[in-house]
Amino acid sequence: MKFLCIQCDEVMSFSDRDLPGDGTITALFSCGACGREMAMLTNPMETQLVTSLGVEIGGRTVPEQPLQQTRSRLDTPRDDAFVDEEATLAGDPGSSSTIPATEHEFVRIRVTWTSEATDRLAGVPKFVRGMVKRIYTEYAQEKQIEVITPDVMDRARSDLGLEGM
């Protein structure tokens, strides 16, 4: 899918995405030549069709997590399907991520979690908690944020379009 500014004959660039939480998507594209913007609006069905492919319009902001599509879409997940990460969360809130270096260019810093952030993470269903923790951790590392607080989590949710997490 591409959008062409026919006045300028320029391919428009993806600039922003908004997920209001009602199943719709607003994706903004702009023309680099004239600055004109357009919004692509999808209804819940259209959104579902795209997201069913396991893709994000405009590209991924964080790497896809293992079984991410399956886990995030199951309506009745088994709560104990995955090994409990409570110990690493509650017992060592200052633990850093164990994620090995990937192709990301940013320098991986040691990330710690405040007790408030840890409490909030504990409210995420176990089924996806590990995945969500990793997403927040990678976000913090990419932004060079050393301490994850609830405020950082809010920013990540907004920046990454994680309203459902």
């Binding site: 006045q7 819940p44 579902q48 492919l53 396991g54 590209g59 079984l67 399956t70 995955f82």
Partner: protein
Amino acid sequence: MAEPTSSSGTGNTPREGSVTRADTVRGYADLTGEVESKIVEQIGEQHARLVSRLSEVGAIIVIASGKGGVGKSAVTANLAVALAARGARVGAVDADLNGPSLGKMLGLIGSQLEDRPDGIVPAVGVAGVKGISTDLLIEEGVPLRWKGPAHDQFVWQGVTEAVALREFISDVVWGPIDYLIIDIPPGTDKIGRFLDLVSEVGPSHLQPDQVLLVTIPSEVAGAVVARSATQLLEGGVPCIGLIGNMAGYAQPGRDELLPLFTGPSAGDIADAVGLELWSEIPFDPVFGSRTDNGDPAGAEGDSIVAQVFTDLAERVEHGPGGREEKK
């Protein structure tokens, strides 16, 4: 204003008073440079993960039928255990997302999956067979339901399930294994969906190495299996064997078989369909009970069925992609 670069556009002419625009609007193929939706790239990354994961798999063995209730999962579980008993490293994917049973048959239920950055560590069941199934992911006793618009589910559900099957293969840390056995659910469309999935991942795994179609001695089952065989042959799958399940009733402790069905034998179906008959498996209630309770015997013991699975495992080992074939 940029110069038009193609004459293949729609040839719009500006209306009086309208915003000036290019004389022709370029088509998709005329546009070069980065694709802003990045959807194609993301799908490419998904395929790359699949290729990477399958690079550690010696052979993909597909167990299918098209027909339901012929014992595909029981064959899968017992073949997996029989291969493992020969020293093979085996993984099993329960592709029947809506009616999972392989997890229970392989003794995977109760195991927890481990979430690691490089993937999901699969459950390990009988004889060390690794497995993944929706049985491990959804609440007990509830049907599989996906989040999404409640109406018109048929529009998106197929895509969602195809993605889940892809993740079952690409996102699970199988490690180096000799065989990845895929238990395909009923429906000839499901066979096609899996072939589409693997055929997109590159020449090294363009096709499953072996496909075993399971039937029972029934005209109806034979007709459905014939459709599946046609689909596979049209898809260019080179190695297809027919398994005749429930080929008579094996009384525990006795050698002779009693008839179970009055329909055509698996041999007759194989001849009619044009497939090679690889195996005929009698129904043994003890064997069946063990399988249902998560303790498939495979090739264990000296029963008729155990001998059948011993022979079937050996045949798979000598088939395309098998360990013996690679020696």
